[in-house]
């Protein structure tokens, strides 16, 4: 017997994911739909050996306008699954049935699972499943994904309709003249489209659905004939064809509701969820509560527990490294020892260091998402963030990013809109993370006499970079398109399931290790090689002194790039490159390459006068004690490519090589330009000569201002959905 394919379709927040997990258990395959970041999940139905369940993106409609909807449409039309299992949220049945009526038109055998029945019963509402089944012409099963009731029953019924191919679907009925036009369209296309889907195609053609029209390619005569009918309907109803269909579909559902759903007025003054919401998004209390929640999330993931776990993991890998070193000492060549201990173990360490912290963060994010508060975060913060092409939900990645960019970038996963998500990923690492603070401290102590203003200004610069990037980037072609309309469902609050939270945490954590891990490991090894090999006295080989390494030579040949920024010496270049391994490395490298020596970090941590005195040689040697040079270096290191771990996270979340490279290049260019403008205008203000660099700096400022304030040239361009264009 060949495999049976069942498509799982439903609205977002309908409990689809919980149900999918329940039906497939651990036998899941998670990937992406080709070319896009939308997740694709497949699994084998428990208790059957030939039934594959394909989870489709959560959608509200089969319109041609959003990526998720187009993916779902194309899958259902082109792959022709044997049956559809449609999950309907029983507490929100009216809007959920809107998708159901569209799925029924596809003519694929379908079973409707009315989910969340436990909550429906609690509110005292009654849903007459038999009447609903009669009206829709397909089996309707009551389920409660939270309690686990009915899920297997729904799956078994779906397998049964898939096997029998039984299909008595009764599509929704439109008014006379619309039906008349649709009948005409059906007649003209019946020889070109699969028989069972004729009605779906006919309705789409009536709606003038571009994607379908491209695919069908009607003859000019047919087209003209059909267009006449459509125009006639539009005139009669004084609306466009698409709106006529939507309006009448909802009208049909409203009638269906009268026959099948009885609302109780048990909670006339609001359900428990309403009461919670009245407090959580209250005009006065919403912001204090929001900041309190964020404080807890931050404190736990980045503060106490996060700090401790990162420290623990670092210590662990140091010990492992020392242990392995001890074993190898004298037994293997120093090259191999270096490669394994410093390159491989160090690299793996830098991947795994973040994992416990990330798991803690993901646990909390999954909780906030599942219980419904995450949608309110977007609701509360939208007003501020949307101006910069970001989502209200971007607040969390930025906040977490002030501790560590890696989990910050990973937290952008909660943003549904692809453009908002990409923008968030690109800008999160501008917020100075914990590892950049030692650089800030170094510059403050070594050059600015320990001024606290330096640290404060670093955060201001970070926020400014986010805002400026947001405004400039959202007007570029890459982010072009209609402004994403913010019509968002605010789901009811409910307790998350333990298994749901754990599973989501596990999936995110594992995907970081798997997809970000490779890039972190490889680049760590590459940098280890560059910094420990070179041409010493005995030719090419391991070198004791970093002065002789390939990296030092490389730094020397690249220093001209940084001369106009005020720090054109190879040591500063090497420090910056080493900062890619981990930003705090910058301090160590400067220490080793100067009179300060290996204890630079300890001196910095001692703080106060000791740090100012102890680190002074670094300021003198690399920046000539110039505040301008040193601050310019700081700006560059705050904005340029983040550490490899963060680059790995960016790659994981962008899921696209071009976007990853684009993001890194953008950051580095912004870093260079900002430092250039700062340093050269600074020179002029300090009374230096007005040279060519100052003129270039002014030109850059003018261009920047233009990019910032110009009207958006792509404002009215239509969203182009590039997925699976036939």
């Amino acid at each position: 017997m060949s495999d049976i394919k069942i498509a799982l379709a439903g609205n977002p927040n309908s409990g689809k994911t919980t149900l999918f997990n329940m039906l497939t258990g651990s036998k899941q395959y998670v990937g992406n739909w080709p070319g896009v970041t939308v997740e694709k999940k497949e699994g084998m139905l428990k208790g059957f050996d030939n039934v594959i369940i394909q989870d489709l993106p959560g959608i509200y409609s089969l319109s041609p306008y959003s990526l998720e909807e187009v993916i779902t449409r194309n899958y259902l039309i082109d792959e022709q699954p044997d049956a559809i299992l449609n999950i309907v949220d029983g507490t929100n049945i009216e809007r959920n049935l809107y998708l159901t009526t569209q799925l029924i038109e596809l003519g694929i055998p379908i079973v409707v699972a009315v989910n969340m029945m436990d909550i429906v019963r609690k509110t005292g509402d009654k849903i007459n499943v038999e009447n609903l089944s009669k009206a829709l012409g397909c089996p309707v099963v009551e389920t409660s994904a939270l309690k686990g009731d009915g899920a297997m029953e729904a799956a078994r019924r779906t397998v049964a309709v898939a096997n029998s191919g039984e299909n008595k679907n009764i599509p929704c009925h439109f008014e006379g003249s619309v039906e008349h036009a649709i009948a005409h369209i059906e007649e003209s296309i019946q020889s070109i489209v699969p028989k069972h889907s004729v009605r779906w195609y006919a309705i789409k053609i009536f709606e003038r659905d571009e994607k379908v029209l491209e695919k069908i390619k009607l003859s000019p005569e047919d087209n003209k004939h059909i267009e006449e009918h459509i125009v006639e309907c539009e005139r009669e109803m004084d609306d466009d064809a698409e709106s006529i269909i939507i309006g009448q579909r909802y009208a049909y559902i409203a009638k269906l509701m009268e026959k099948t759903v009885k609302k109780s007025n048990k909670y006339a003054d609001g359900t428990v969820s309403d009461k919670i919401d009245r407090v959580l998004t209250n005009r006065v209390l919403a912001l204090p509560i929001f900041f309190a929640v964020m404080y807890v999330v931050y404190k736990i993931s980045i503060g106490t527990v996060g700090d401790w776990s990162v420290g623990f993991m670092e210590g662990l890998f140091e010990n492992i490294g020392e242990f392995v070193s001890g074993l190898m000492e004298g037994n293997v060549s120093p090259v191999l020892q270096g490669l394994i201990v410093d390159g491989a173990i160090g690299g793996v360490g830098s991947v795994l260091t973040f994992v416990p912290q990330m798991i803690i963060l993901f646990l909390m994010l999954a909780f906030l998402e599942e219980c419904g508060y995450m949608a309110r975060v977007a609701f509360i913060m939208d007003r501020i963030f949307r101006r910069f092409g970001l989502s209200g939900k971007s607040f969390i990645p930025m906040l977490i990013g002030s501790g560590c960019s890696v989990p910050g970038i990973m937290a952008s996963r909660t943003i549904e809109n692809e453009r908002d998500r990409r923008m968030t990923i690109m800008t999160t690492s501008f917020i100075p993370c914990g590892a950049k603070m030692p650089i800030v401290g170094l510059i403050a102590s070594a050059v600015f006499g320990g001024s606290a203003l330096i640290a404060t200004s670093a955060y201001f610069l970070g926020v400014a970079a986010v805002i400026i990037s947001g405004v400039i980037l959202k007007k570029t072609k890459a982010f072009a398109g209609e402004p994403a309309e913010f019509v968002m469902e605010l789901p009811s609050y409910h307790w998350p399931t333990v298994s749901g939270v754990l599973r989501s945490t596990w999936e995110r954590g594992w995907s970081f290790i798997k997809r970000a891990g490779t890039i972190i490991l490889l680049s760590s090894i590459a940098i280890w090689f560059l910094s420990s090999f070179g041409f010493g006295e005995e030719g090419f080989g391991l070198v004791e002194d970093m002065n002789e390494s390939v990296l030092a030579k490389l730094g020397g040949s690249l220093k001209w790039i940084f001369t106009p920024l005020g720090f054109g010496n190879w040591e500063a270049v090497v420090a910056t490159v080493m900062g890619l391994v981990a930003k705090e490395e910058v301090v160590n490298v400067f220490g080793v390459l100067s009179a300060v020596g290996e204890g630079a970090m300890d001196i910095l941590e001692a703080g106060g006068a000791e740090a100012i005195e102890g680190l002074k040689p670094i300021g003198e040697q690399f920046f000539n004690g110039s505040g301008l040079s040193a601050y310019s270096f700081l700006i560059f290191n705050l904005f340029c490519a983040p550490c490899f771990a963060a680059i790995g996270a960016i790659r994981r979340e962008m899921n696209n090589a071009k976007w990853t490279v684009g993001a890194i290049v953008y950051m580095t260019v912004l870093a260079w330009v900002s430092s250039f403008v700062f340093y050269n205008l600074g020179l002029v203000i300090r009374g230096g000569a007005f040279g060519i660099n100052a003129i270039i700096a002014i030109v850059i400022v003018v261009i920047g201002a233009y990019l910032l304030f110009r009207p958006n040239p792509y404002k009215n361009e239509k969203i182009s959905i590039k997925y699976g264009d036939q």
Binding site: S63, Y65, E242, K263, V487
Partner: protein, 77 residues
């Protein structure tokens, strides 16, 4: 009157959606169609977006999008 001008606590009826294409479709797909009753629950703490109850569920809409939706006073409550 347009929906963005409606005060929290009021119930109105949708008359027309003044837009075309993807945005109109999305608004209507979410159930904001001609003749439907909309209850304005609240406005976000920073003044935008607004939260509506429509067809028995909660929906948040930005004021600039709500400005496309023409409504009349009426309905129960």
């Amino acid at each position: 009157m347009t929906l963005d001008k409606v005060k929290p606590g009021e119930t109105v009826k949708v008359v027309k959606i003044n837009n075309t294409g993807a945005i109109k479709r999305r608004i209507m797909d979410m159930g904001l169609t001609k003749g439907v009753e909309v209850y304005v629950r609240k406005v976000a703490p920073l003044g935008d977006p607004m939260e509506l109850t429509v067809r028995g569920y909660e929906l948040s809409v930005r004021k600039e999008d709500a400005a496309m939706i023409e409504v009349i006073q009426g309905g129960k409550n």
